[in-house]
Symmetry: C2
Subunit: 301 residues, 2 copies
Amino acid sequence: MKYGVTTDYVLGMQVVLADGTAVRLGGPRLKDVAGLSLTKLFVGSEGTLGVITEVTLRLLPAQHASSIVVASFASVESAVDAVLGVTARLRPSMLEFMDSVAINAVEDTMRMDLDRGAAAMLVAGSDERGGAGAEDAAVMAAVFADNGATEVFSTDDPDEGGRLSPPADSAFRRWRPRDRYCWKTSGALAGVGLIGHRDRADRRPTRADDLGDRPRRRWQHPPLLVYDPADIAMAERAQLAYGEIMDLAVGLGGTITGEHGVGRLKRPWLAGYLGPDAMDLNRRIKQALDPLGILNPGSGI
Amino acid sequence: MKYGVTTDYVLGMQVVLADGTAVRLGGPRLKDVAGLSLTKLFVGSEGTLGVITEVTLRLLPAQHASSIVVASFASVESAVDAVLGVTARLRPSMLEFMDSVAINAVEDTMRMDLDRGAAAMLVAGSDERGGAGAEDAAVMAAVFADNGATEVFSTDDPDEGGRLSPPADSAFRRWRPRDRYCWKTSGALAGVGLIGHRDRADRRPTRADDLGDRPRRRWQHPPLLVYDPADIAMAERAQLAYGEIMDLAVGLGGTITGEHGVGRLKRPWLAGYLGPDAMDLNRRIKQALDPLGILNPGSGI
């Protein structure tokens, strides 16, 4: 949210094309607008346009330790309002959302003394320097309180902040059964749609709860589906639920993938999401660079 | 330097293709990696791939008033070392370089009491919040002093800072004769090469002085050539000098254009800069999207 996406940091690369030519694009120049933005075209192309063998990245100075604010809410709606309130005022370096399922999974694993009765929790951070980080934290704490947070806790202590910041990831690790697959939808799926469209804030991501009864279904943000691939019927229901989550995200103004790309898993939804004209444009580029379709077939575009 | 380039802020657009189709790409989602990065491909394509009729931009909170540091140097080399020293430690929001010609042009126009005898001047700023801006300014002032600055002046006063920050642009306005054309090479031309390649810092941009005698030649950063287009011989010499500046910039690891694109003016140098393979790649994309070549012919790629 604060620092943008990978593409913003890729200045150059060497890429091997379908015909075997190794091409250098961009380079170690912070600004270079000669020719088409081919470097950025290849980033995120998932190996469908060429094989990237070298990248040159733009670096930022190391982040400063974050001031962290944690808040519990009695409803998902209040937490969502708080997110909108924060992002209207500043760019936090972290703004993690957990629903009650995630909170309890974290608490089961890590015993952090979280409020198991809370409907939602936000973990926010600011890595601004000097007094500005604490100033941001105070603003965020005030916004959380204004939106009915039942508990607000702030810290400038890096160790304490570090313990508080990765609980959502821990929840995933906890939930992934050792010998079973799980499908994780993109973290940005509903959230980005919601935050991108402030005018749609009335359409809550909790609509995911309307999707009906699914095996081992547990909705959280990001939504997670765990199923046993050996159970064909269960796998089919999981696939159905997965598609419904994607449709819901797109319907809310979100995307099918905010960070991790399309790959094979999300490919069935790509054309519907992009629409026929944008999909055709993708295919024309693909056709121009890989006419025989030998690069990562079956994946991405 | 601090905030990246335009592409980093374009989230979506509507673009009309060569065949008349209006396509929507991206949209108001801060993160969206579904399909190829076509939005970024169209940014900077200079109308050669389609006509952009709408853009959606990512916004940052308003910048804070900058702390400004101005320093004079007895040699261009010292100023360049100071630039490298600053950028190794932090990301200033402004770092303007002026050589003695520019300094004197500004002083002629604006009577700012600049040091007319200085070989180079740097105007640096930090828009970090709270105490961090003043902290950055102190670091930069110390780096300038360490690199032999003959004079260093700092201010946190926004009005004073505002007066100091745009002198290079003023110099351009002053120098452009009302009824004559001038060619301005990109500000990033030599500078980006230099800053991008710290290992080449020994190859100074002052090599531009080696380019020989040209009519009304005045080297500054960015280099500026003023000539009378009615004087054919003078125009030819200006064209020659312009090409030599471009070659020098590329030889130093810079680019032919850091900000303003290729257009018609710099087109003769594009293929040489990109090399045959990257140029071919540009042409394949162009061919795929505009097979009849009707979009902005003669410009860009």
